[in-house]
């Protein structure tokens, strides 16, 4: 997994629009995040553009579970929409605030309104954590 992550970093250079499209496309195909270490060359190409790490997604999921008071065995995938989990827009605001605090980032107003799934939140967090100068 280590070698895959380094190659993914080197590909962040291309224009953000393209990498965003690639990211969106690959988020459906790169099957869960770290548990299945698929090592075929086909998935390698897709994972290069995959933005969110497994642990980020896990942390986001934990926060979502806590905020929405979900039981431990509710099925929670990266594609789960907040509304499907029983959150209304105020809950979403609260979740985004909690994520901001946890990861020590600042989410823009426009970005915050577009977060609907766990994967999107994780991608945005990764983005912001990288852009932030290392403390």
């Amino acid at each position: 997994m280590a070698s895959l992550s380094t190659t993914s970093l080197s590909f962040k250079a291309p224009s953000t629009r393209i990498s965003q499209v690639l990211r969106k496309g690959s988020s459906f195909q790169s099957v869960t995040f770290g548990r299945f270490t698929s090592s075929t060359s086909k998935s390698l190409r897709l994972q290069i553009s995959c933005a969110a790490k497994a642990e980020t997604v896990q942390k986001v999921s934990d926060i979502v579970k806590e905020q929405l008071a979900l039981t431990a065995d509710t099925p929670l995938t990266a594609e789960s929409k907040f509304t499907a989990l029983g959150a209304d827009s105020l809950d979403t605001v609260e979740i985004v605030m909690a994520l901001e605090e946890k990861f020590n980032i600042s989410v823009e107003e426009s970005d915050a309104q577009n977060i609907t799934t766990i994967q999107e939140a994780a991608d945005l967090i990764e983005d912001l954590v990288q852009k932030k100068p290392a403390a």
């Binding site: 105020l90 609260e94 605090e101 107003e109």
Partner: protein
């Protein structure tokens, strides 16, 4: 006419402002109270009532910002017990 996104923006702004208090109790209270306040009125349908509630929240927001500035002048001298990590 107050839109949904304006209401959410105000909620977010208030939560952000409340985070700046150096005092644990004020931070927690602001977070709790703003969310409770917005949740209490979330099912309003009458637009005039919505506008009224929004205006009230806006006024409170102005007070909140002023209060944060003031309380930042007098930060607590010791760390609050609730902020100390359990060992």
């Amino acid at each position: 006419m107050v839109s949904r996104s304006e209401v959410l923006s105000l909620c977010r702004a208030m939560l952000r402002a409340g985070r700046q208090y150096p005092h644990y109790n004020l931070r927690e209270y602001t977070k709790r109270r703003t969310l409770d306040g917005f949740r209490m009125n979330k099912n309003l349908t009458d637009q005039s009532k919505v506008n009224e509630a929004y205006a009230e929240a806006k006024a409170q927001f102005v007070v909140l910002e002023r209060s944060v500035k003031f309380h930042s002048l007098y930060p607590p001298k010791t760390k609050n017990i609730m902020e100390v990590k359990l060992q």
